[in-house]
Protein backbone atom coordinates (compact mmCIF):
# COMPACT_ATOMS: atom_id res chain seq x y z
CA UNK A 1 0.00 0.00 0.00
CA UNK A 2 1.48 3.34 -0.97
CA UNK A 3 0.14 6.81 -1.48
CA UNK A 4 -3.32 7.06 -3.09
CA UNK A 5 -3.32 7.06 -6.86
CA UNK A 6 -6.00 7.82 -9.37
CA UNK A 7 -6.73 4.17 -10.13
CA UNK A 8 -7.38 3.34 -6.50
CA UNK A 9 -10.05 4.08 -4.00
CA UNK A 10 -9.74 7.83 -3.51
CA UNK A 11 -10.45 7.31 0.17
CA UNK A 12 -7.63 4.80 0.58
CA UNK A 13 -4.80 5.87 2.83
CA UNK A 14 -1.17 5.09 2.36
CA UNK A 15 0.85 3.37 5.05
CA UNK A 16 2.81 6.56 5.50
CA UNK A 17 -0.38 8.43 6.23
CA UNK A 18 -1.41 5.74 8.68
CA UNK A 19 1.99 5.99 10.33
CA UNK A 20 1.70 9.77 10.58
CA UNK A 21 -1.70 9.30 12.17
CA UNK A 22 -0.37 6.72 14.62
CA UNK A 23 2.47 9.08 15.58
CA UNK A 24 0.16 12.00 16.15
CA UNK A 25 1.60 13.93 13.22
CA UNK A 26 -1.82 14.38 11.65
CA UNK A 27 -5.08 15.73 12.89
CA UNK A 28 -6.68 12.73 14.63
CA UNK A 29 -10.11 13.55 13.24
CA UNK A 30 -8.78 13.45 9.69
CA UNK A 31 -8.46 9.67 9.56
CA UNK A 32 -10.90 8.68 12.28
CA UNK A 33 -13.81 8.01 9.94
CA UNK A 34 -11.60 6.13 7.53
CA UNK A 35 -10.25 3.89 10.27
CA UNK A 36 -13.78 3.09 11.37
CA UNK A 37 -14.58 1.86 7.87
CA UNK A 38 -11.30 0.06 7.17
CA UNK A 39 -10.40 -2.60 9.74
CA UNK A 40 -7.17 -3.41 7.89
CA UNK A 41 -6.00 0.18 8.21
CA UNK A 42 -7.05 0.18 11.88
CA UNK A 43 -5.04 -3.00 12.45
CA UNK A 44 -1.98 -1.39 10.89
CA UNK A 45 -2.24 1.60 13.16
CA UNK A 46 -2.59 -0.74 16.13
CA UNK A 47 0.47 -2.66 14.96
CA UNK A 48 2.50 0.54 14.86
CA UNK A 49 1.50 1.27 18.42
CA UNK A 50 2.36 -2.25 19.40
CA UNK A 51 5.84 -2.06 17.93
CA UNK A 52 6.32 1.12 19.88
CA UNK A 53 5.20 -0.47 23.13
CA UNK A 54 7.47 -3.46 22.58
CA UNK A 55 10.54 -1.39 21.82
CA UNK A 56 9.95 1.05 24.66
CA UNK A 57 9.18 -1.61 27.26
CA UNK A 58 12.07 -3.76 26.07
CA UNK A 59 14.59 -0.92 26.39
CA UNK A 60 13.25 0.12 29.79
CA UNK A 61 13.49 -3.46 31.01
CA UNK A 62 17.04 -3.57 29.67
CA UNK A 63 17.84 -0.45 31.69
CA UNK A 64 16.29 -2.06 34.76
CA UNK A 65 18.63 -4.99 34.47
CA UNK A 66 21.69 -2.84 35.01
CA UNK A 67 22.65 -3.10 38.67
CA UNK A 68 22.44 -0.05 40.87
CA UNK A 69 26.08 -0.64 41.75
CA UNK A 70 27.06 0.06 38.14
CA UNK A 71 25.38 3.44 38.25
CA UNK A 72 26.79 4.18 41.71
CA UNK A 73 30.27 3.50 40.36
CA UNK A 74 29.45 5.66 37.36
CA UNK A 75 28.50 8.56 39.61
CA UNK A 76 31.77 8.24 41.50
CA UNK A 77 33.66 8.48 38.21
CA UNK A 78 31.55 11.42 37.09
CA UNK A 79 31.99 13.16 40.44
CA UNK A 80 35.75 12.72 40.16
CA UNK A 81 35.78 14.43 36.79
CA UNK A 82 33.44 17.30 37.47
CA UNK A 83 35.00 20.69 37.03
CA UNK A 84 33.49 24.04 37.76
CA UNK A 85 31.04 24.94 35.01
CA UNK A 86 32.61 27.13 32.33
CA UNK A 87 30.47 30.11 32.96
CA UNK A 88 30.79 33.43 31.22
CA UNK A 89 31.99 36.59 32.96
CA UNK A 90 28.53 37.93 33.66
CA UNK A 91 27.30 34.56 34.83
CA UNK A 92 30.22 34.30 37.22
CA UNK A 93 29.71 37.84 38.47
CA UNK A 94 26.02 37.17 38.88
CA UNK A 95 26.65 33.92 40.72
CA UNK A 96 29.22 35.58 42.95
CA UNK A 97 26.82 38.42 43.68
CA UNK A 98 24.02 36.01 44.46
CA UNK A 99 26.19 34.15 46.88
CA UNK A 100 27.65 37.19 48.64
CA UNK A 101 24.71 39.53 48.20
CA UNK A 102 24.44 40.43 51.91
CA UNK A 103 28.19 41.02 52.23
CA UNK A 104 28.23 43.21 49.16
CA UNK A 105 25.29 45.28 50.31
CA UNK A 106 26.75 45.70 53.82
CA UNK A 107 30.09 46.73 52.35
CA UNK A 108 28.50 49.16 49.96
CA UNK A 109 26.42 50.78 52.72
CA UNK A 110 29.47 51.07 54.97
CA UNK A 111 31.56 52.62 52.23
CA UNK A 112 28.77 55.06 51.47
CA UNK A 113 28.50 56.07 55.11
CA UNK A 114 32.24 56.66 55.34
CA UNK A 115 32.18 58.71 52.16
CA UNK A 116 29.27 60.77 53.49
CA UNK A 117 31.07 61.45 56.78
CA UNK A 118 34.20 62.39 54.90
CA UNK A 119 32.21 64.89 52.86
CA UNK A 120 30.58 66.35 55.94
CA UNK A 121 33.74 66.73 57.97
CA UNK A 122 36.21 67.49 55.22
CA UNK A 123 38.30 70.63 55.79
CA UNK A 124 37.23 73.76 54.00
CA UNK A 125 39.04 75.10 51.01
CA UNK A 126 42.16 76.92 52.25
CA UNK A 127 42.17 80.68 51.96
CA UNK A 128 45.08 81.66 49.73
CA UNK A 129 45.97 84.41 52.18
CA UNK A 130 46.45 82.06 55.14
CA UNK A 131 48.50 78.94 55.53
CA UNK A 132 46.34 75.85 55.64
CA UNK A 133 45.97 74.38 59.06
CA UNK A 134 46.34 70.88 57.76
CA UNK A 135 49.47 71.67 55.83
CA UNK A 136 51.52 72.35 58.95
CA UNK A 137 53.11 69.09 59.87
CA UNK A 138 55.08 68.78 63.06
CA UNK A 139 58.23 66.76 62.60
CA UNK A 140 58.57 64.55 65.62
CA UNK A 141 61.76 62.80 64.58
CA UNK A 142 64.92 63.23 66.68
CA UNK A 143 66.79 66.35 65.76
CA UNK A 144 69.77 64.32 64.53
CA UNK A 145 67.58 62.61 61.98
CA UNK A 146 65.75 65.63 60.66
CA UNK A 147 68.62 66.41 58.34
CA UNK A 148 70.79 63.75 56.87
CA UNK A 149 74.31 64.35 58.17
CA UNK A 150 76.99 64.78 55.55
CA UNK A 151 79.94 62.59 56.44
CA UNK A 152 83.21 64.06 55.38
CA UNK A 153 85.43 61.43 56.91
CA UNK A 154 85.00 58.26 58.91
CA UNK A 155 87.93 56.78 60.78
CA UNK A 156 87.40 53.45 62.47
CA UNK A 157 90.75 52.26 63.87
CA UNK A 158 89.29 49.18 65.54
CA UNK A 159 87.07 51.29 67.75
CA UNK A 160 84.05 50.02 69.52
CA UNK A 161 82.55 53.21 70.88
CA UNK A 162 80.88 55.90 68.84
CA UNK A 163 80.36 59.56 69.50
CA UNK A 164 78.19 61.67 67.21
CA UNK A 165 78.60 65.41 67.28
CA UNK A 166 76.24 67.73 65.40
CA UNK A 167 77.62 71.10 64.62
CA UNK A 168 76.31 74.21 62.94
CA UNK A 169 78.90 76.53 61.49
CA UNK A 170 79.16 78.98 58.67
CA UNK A 171 79.10 76.13 56.09
CA UNK A 172 75.88 74.77 57.46
CA UNK A 173 75.07 71.74 59.58
CA UNK A 174 77.67 68.99 59.99
CA UNK A 175 77.88 65.85 62.08
CA UNK A 176 81.14 64.34 63.27
CA UNK A 177 81.20 60.64 64.18
CA UNK A 178 84.00 59.38 66.32
CA UNK A 179 84.62 55.67 66.54
CA UNK A 180 87.17 54.69 69.17
CA UNK A 181 88.31 51.72 71.20
CA UNK A 182 88.24 53.85 74.24
CA UNK A 183 85.52 52.61 76.55
CA UNK A 184 84.93 56.09 77.77
CA UNK A 185 83.59 58.26 74.97
CA UNK A 186 83.63 61.23 77.28
CA UNK A 187 87.38 61.11 77.14
CA UNK A 188 87.45 62.14 73.51
Amino acid sequence: MSRPTSDRDPGARSDLELMEHADGERDAAELAAHLDRDPQARAKVDAIHQIGELVRAHLELSADRVHDASFAAMWRRIDGQLVAPTTGVWARVSAWFDRYRSHVITGAVSAGAVAALALIFRPGTPDPGFPAVGSHVIDVRPAALRATPEIDALDTPGGSSTVVINMDDEDGHAAVIWVTDDTDPEAI
Binding site: M1, S2, R3, S14, D15, L16, L18, M19, E20, D23, G24, E25, Q40, A43, K44, D46, A47, I48, Q50, I51, G52, E53, L54, V55, R56, A57, H58, L59, E60, L61, S62, A63, D64, V66, D68, S70, F71, M74, W75, R77, I78, D79, Q81, L82, V83, A84, P85, T86, T87, G88, A91, A95, D98, R99
Partner: protein, 243 residues
Protein backbone atom coordinates in the same frame (compact mmCIF):
# COMPACT_ATOMS: atom_id res chain seq x y z
CA UNK B 1 9.89 -1.28 39.07
CA UNK B 2 10.12 2.46 39.25
CA UNK B 3 13.81 2.67 39.81
CA UNK B 4 15.48 6.04 39.89
CA UNK B 5 15.99 7.38 36.41
CA UNK B 6 12.94 5.75 34.94
CA UNK B 7 10.34 7.58 32.96
CA UNK B 8 7.42 6.57 35.18
CA UNK B 9 9.06 7.87 38.32
CA UNK B 10 9.70 11.19 36.68
CA UNK B 11 6.85 12.28 34.54
CA UNK B 12 3.81 10.65 36.01
CA UNK B 13 4.23 11.16 39.72
CA UNK B 14 5.07 14.85 39.56
CA UNK B 15 5.94 15.04 43.24
CA UNK B 16 9.62 15.76 43.11
CA UNK B 17 10.26 18.20 45.93
CA UNK B 18 12.61 20.26 43.83
CA UNK B 19 12.03 20.74 40.13
CA UNK B 20 14.73 20.28 37.56
CA UNK B 21 15.11 23.97 36.89
CA UNK B 22 16.00 24.71 40.50
CA UNK B 23 18.45 21.85 40.52
CA UNK B 24 20.07 23.09 37.33
CA UNK B 25 20.45 26.61 38.75
CA UNK B 26 21.99 25.19 41.92
CA UNK B 27 24.31 22.97 39.90
CA UNK B 28 25.31 25.96 37.78
CA UNK B 29 26.48 27.61 41.00
CA UNK B 30 28.62 24.60 41.77
CA UNK B 31 26.24 22.55 43.92
CA UNK B 32 27.31 18.97 43.27
CA UNK B 33 24.48 17.49 45.29
CA UNK B 34 22.00 19.20 42.98
CA UNK B 35 23.72 17.71 39.96
CA UNK B 36 23.78 14.32 41.65
CA UNK B 37 20.01 14.55 42.11
CA UNK B 38 19.64 15.21 38.39
CA UNK B 39 21.83 12.20 37.72
CA UNK B 40 19.73 10.02 39.99
CA UNK B 41 16.56 11.13 38.27
CA UNK B 42 17.65 10.50 34.71
CA UNK B 43 20.49 8.01 34.55
CA UNK B 44 18.36 4.99 33.71
CA UNK B 45 16.30 6.84 31.17
CA UNK B 46 19.47 8.10 29.56
CA UNK B 47 20.87 4.59 29.64
CA UNK B 48 17.81 3.14 27.91
CA UNK B 49 18.25 5.67 25.14
CA UNK B 50 21.98 5.02 24.77
CA UNK B 51 21.52 1.26 24.91
CA UNK B 52 18.83 1.42 22.26
CA UNK B 53 21.29 3.06 19.90
CA UNK B 54 24.68 1.51 20.69
CA UNK B 55 23.30 -1.94 21.63
CA UNK B 56 26.04 -2.82 24.09
CA UNK B 57 25.80 -2.42 27.84
CA UNK B 58 29.34 -1.21 28.55
CA UNK B 59 29.28 1.16 25.61
CA UNK B 60 25.92 2.52 26.72
CA UNK B 61 27.26 3.08 30.24
CA UNK B 62 30.25 4.94 28.79
CA UNK B 63 27.95 7.10 26.71
CA UNK B 64 25.78 7.97 29.71
CA UNK B 65 28.82 8.79 31.84
CA UNK B 66 30.29 11.04 29.16
CA UNK B 67 26.91 12.66 28.64
CA UNK B 68 26.58 13.68 32.28
CA UNK B 69 30.14 14.97 32.39
CA UNK B 70 29.50 16.98 29.26
CA UNK B 71 26.16 18.21 30.56
CA UNK B 72 27.85 19.48 33.71
CA UNK B 73 30.65 21.10 31.76
CA UNK B 74 28.24 23.04 29.57
CA UNK B 75 25.54 23.57 32.14
CA UNK B 76 25.69 27.33 31.61
CA UNK B 77 24.54 26.73 28.03
CA UNK B 78 21.28 25.29 29.31
CA UNK B 79 18.83 28.17 29.26
CA UNK B 80 15.76 26.37 30.49
CA UNK B 81 13.75 26.69 27.28
CA UNK B 82 13.36 22.91 27.17
CA UNK B 83 13.32 20.40 29.98
CA UNK B 84 16.65 19.30 31.39
CA UNK B 85 16.13 15.78 30.10
CA UNK B 86 15.32 17.00 26.60
CA UNK B 87 18.64 18.81 26.67
CA UNK B 88 20.41 15.81 28.18
CA UNK B 89 18.91 13.35 25.74
CA UNK B 90 20.31 15.37 22.83
CA UNK B 91 23.74 15.06 24.36
CA UNK B 92 23.22 11.33 24.90
CA UNK B 93 21.96 10.90 21.36
CA UNK B 94 24.87 12.81 19.83
CA UNK B 95 27.41 10.85 21.86
CA UNK B 96 25.73 7.55 21.02
CA UNK B 97 25.76 8.32 17.30
CA UNK B 98 29.37 9.52 17.55
CA UNK B 99 30.22 6.29 19.31
CA UNK B 100 28.72 4.26 16.50
CA UNK B 101 30.59 6.27 13.89
CA UNK B 102 33.92 5.85 15.69
CA UNK B 103 33.50 2.11 16.08
CA UNK B 104 31.96 1.44 12.70
CA UNK B 105 33.93 -0.94 10.54
CA UNK B 106 31.82 -0.80 7.42
CA UNK B 107 29.87 2.19 6.21
CA UNK B 108 26.21 1.19 6.17
CA UNK B 109 24.20 1.56 3.02
CA UNK B 110 20.94 3.40 3.54
CA UNK B 111 18.68 2.22 0.78
CA UNK B 112 15.87 4.38 2.07
CA UNK B 113 17.80 7.57 1.39
CA UNK B 114 17.32 7.06 -2.33
CA UNK B 115 13.83 5.63 -2.08
CA UNK B 116 11.92 7.77 0.32
CA UNK B 117 8.64 6.28 -0.76
CA UNK B 118 8.03 2.99 1.04
CA UNK B 119 7.96 0.01 -1.24
CA UNK B 120 4.43 -0.90 -2.24
CA UNK B 121 5.32 -4.56 -1.84
CA UNK B 122 6.48 -4.04 1.74
CA UNK B 123 3.46 -2.67 3.51
CA UNK B 124 3.05 -2.38 7.22
CA UNK B 125 1.59 -5.53 8.66
CA UNK B 126 -1.49 -5.54 10.78
CA UNK B 127 -0.66 -6.77 14.28
CA UNK B 128 2.22 -8.89 15.37
CA UNK B 129 1.92 -10.45 18.79
CA UNK B 130 -1.70 -10.30 19.67
CA UNK B 131 -3.07 -7.76 22.06
CA UNK B 132 -0.70 -8.06 24.95
CA UNK B 133 2.85 -6.95 24.17
CA UNK B 134 3.58 -6.59 27.86
CA UNK B 135 2.96 -10.29 28.35
CA UNK B 136 4.96 -11.07 25.25
CA UNK B 137 7.95 -9.30 26.76
CA UNK B 138 7.96 -11.77 29.61
CA UNK B 139 9.16 -14.31 27.12
CA UNK B 140 12.93 -14.49 26.81
CA UNK B 141 12.76 -15.63 23.23
CA UNK B 142 10.68 -12.67 22.18
CA UNK B 143 12.96 -10.29 24.01
CA UNK B 144 15.93 -11.92 22.42
CA UNK B 145 14.29 -11.53 19.02
CA UNK B 146 13.61 -7.85 19.68
CA UNK B 147 17.27 -7.44 20.59
CA UNK B 148 18.28 -9.22 17.42
CA UNK B 149 15.89 -7.16 15.32
CA UNK B 150 17.25 -3.92 16.81
CA UNK B 151 20.81 -5.10 16.19
CA UNK B 152 20.02 -5.79 12.57
CA UNK B 153 18.55 -2.40 11.88
CA UNK B 154 20.88 0.14 10.37
CA UNK B 155 22.21 2.77 12.76
CA UNK B 156 19.99 5.46 11.32
CA UNK B 157 16.86 3.32 11.36
CA UNK B 158 17.54 2.22 14.91
CA UNK B 159 18.28 5.74 16.13
CA UNK B 160 15.04 7.08 14.70
CA UNK B 161 13.02 4.19 16.07
CA UNK B 162 14.50 4.59 19.54
CA UNK B 163 14.00 8.34 19.57
CA UNK B 164 10.43 7.97 18.50
CA UNK B 165 9.38 5.05 20.66
CA UNK B 166 11.34 5.83 23.79
CA UNK B 167 11.01 9.59 23.90
CA UNK B 168 8.10 10.25 21.56
CA UNK B 169 9.96 12.83 19.52
CA UNK B 170 8.12 14.49 16.67
CA UNK B 171 9.32 14.00 13.09
CA UNK B 172 10.49 17.60 13.06
CA UNK B 173 12.53 17.20 16.25
CA UNK B 174 14.09 14.01 14.95
CA UNK B 175 14.93 15.69 11.65
CA UNK B 176 16.75 18.42 13.56
CA UNK B 177 18.52 15.94 15.81
CA UNK B 178 19.74 13.90 12.85
CA UNK B 179 20.31 16.80 10.47
CA UNK B 180 18.13 15.43 7.72
CA UNK B 181 14.76 16.08 6.17
CA UNK B 182 11.44 15.18 7.69
CA UNK B 183 10.80 12.90 4.71
CA UNK B 184 13.98 10.98 5.43
CA UNK B 185 12.93 10.56 9.04
CA UNK B 186 9.55 9.22 7.95
CA UNK B 187 11.17 6.79 5.58
CA UNK B 188 13.66 5.55 8.16
CA UNK B 189 10.94 5.13 10.74
CA UNK B 190 8.69 3.28 8.34
CA UNK B 191 11.42 0.84 7.32
CA UNK B 192 12.56 0.36 10.90
CA UNK B 193 9.06 -0.57 11.98
CA UNK B 194 8.50 -2.77 8.99
CA UNK B 195 11.74 -4.65 9.63
CA UNK B 196 10.90 -5.09 13.28
CA UNK B 197 7.54 -6.52 12.29
CA UNK B 198 9.12 -8.94 9.87
CA UNK B 199 11.58 -10.22 12.45
CA UNK B 200 8.93 -10.75 15.07
CA UNK B 201 6.50 -12.36 12.66
CA UNK B 202 9.24 -14.69 11.60
CA UNK B 203 9.48 -15.74 15.21
CA UNK B 204 5.79 -16.52 15.28
CA UNK B 205 6.03 -18.45 12.02
CA UNK B 206 8.82 -20.60 13.39
CA UNK B 207 8.29 -20.64 17.12
CA UNK B 208 10.34 -22.78 19.41
CA UNK B 209 8.54 -25.38 21.49
CA UNK B 210 9.24 -23.27 24.58
CA UNK B 211 7.63 -20.22 23.04
CA UNK B 212 4.53 -22.09 21.94
CA UNK B 213 4.21 -23.54 25.38
CA UNK B 214 4.70 -20.11 26.86
CA UNK B 215 2.06 -18.54 24.66
CA UNK B 216 -0.50 -21.33 24.52
CA UNK B 217 0.15 -23.41 27.56
CA UNK B 218 0.13 -26.47 25.28
CA UNK B 219 2.52 -28.51 23.19
CA UNK B 220 4.11 -27.11 20.03
CA UNK B 221 2.37 -27.71 16.69
CA UNK B 222 3.74 -30.22 14.25
CA UNK B 223 6.54 -28.80 12.08
CA UNK B 224 4.55 -29.44 8.90
CA UNK B 225 1.45 -27.68 10.12
CA UNK B 226 -0.17 -25.43 7.54
CA UNK B 227 1.03 -21.86 7.68
CA UNK B 228 -1.56 -19.17 8.38
CA UNK B 229 -3.47 -17.95 5.37
CA UNK B 230 -2.49 -14.31 5.80
CA UNK B 231 -1.11 -11.86 8.25
CA UNK B 232 -4.43 -11.20 9.86
CA UNK B 233 -5.00 -14.88 10.47
CA UNK B 234 -1.53 -15.15 11.94
CA UNK B 235 -2.06 -12.25 14.27
CA UNK B 236 -5.45 -13.56 15.24
CA UNK B 237 -3.85 -16.84 16.16
CA UNK B 238 -1.25 -15.08 18.23
CA UNK B 239 -3.85 -12.92 19.89
CA UNK B 240 -5.98 -15.92 20.68
CA UNK B 241 -3.05 -17.78 22.09
CA UNK B 242 -2.50 -14.99 24.61
CA UNK B 243 -5.95 -15.18 26.04
Amino acid sequence: MNKPGQRASISTHGRDPVDDRELVVAAQRGDRDAFKTLFERYHRRAYALAFGVVRHQDDALDVVQDAFIKAHKYLDKFEGNASFFTWLYRIVMNLAIDHLRKHRKVKPVELDEAHLEPDADEPLLPRILGGNPGQALMDKEIRSRIDQALDELSENHRSVLVMRELEGLSYEDMAQAMSCSKGTIMSRLFHARRNMQKRLLDLLDHPSAELVEELTGSAAPAPDADPPADDTARSTRAARSHR
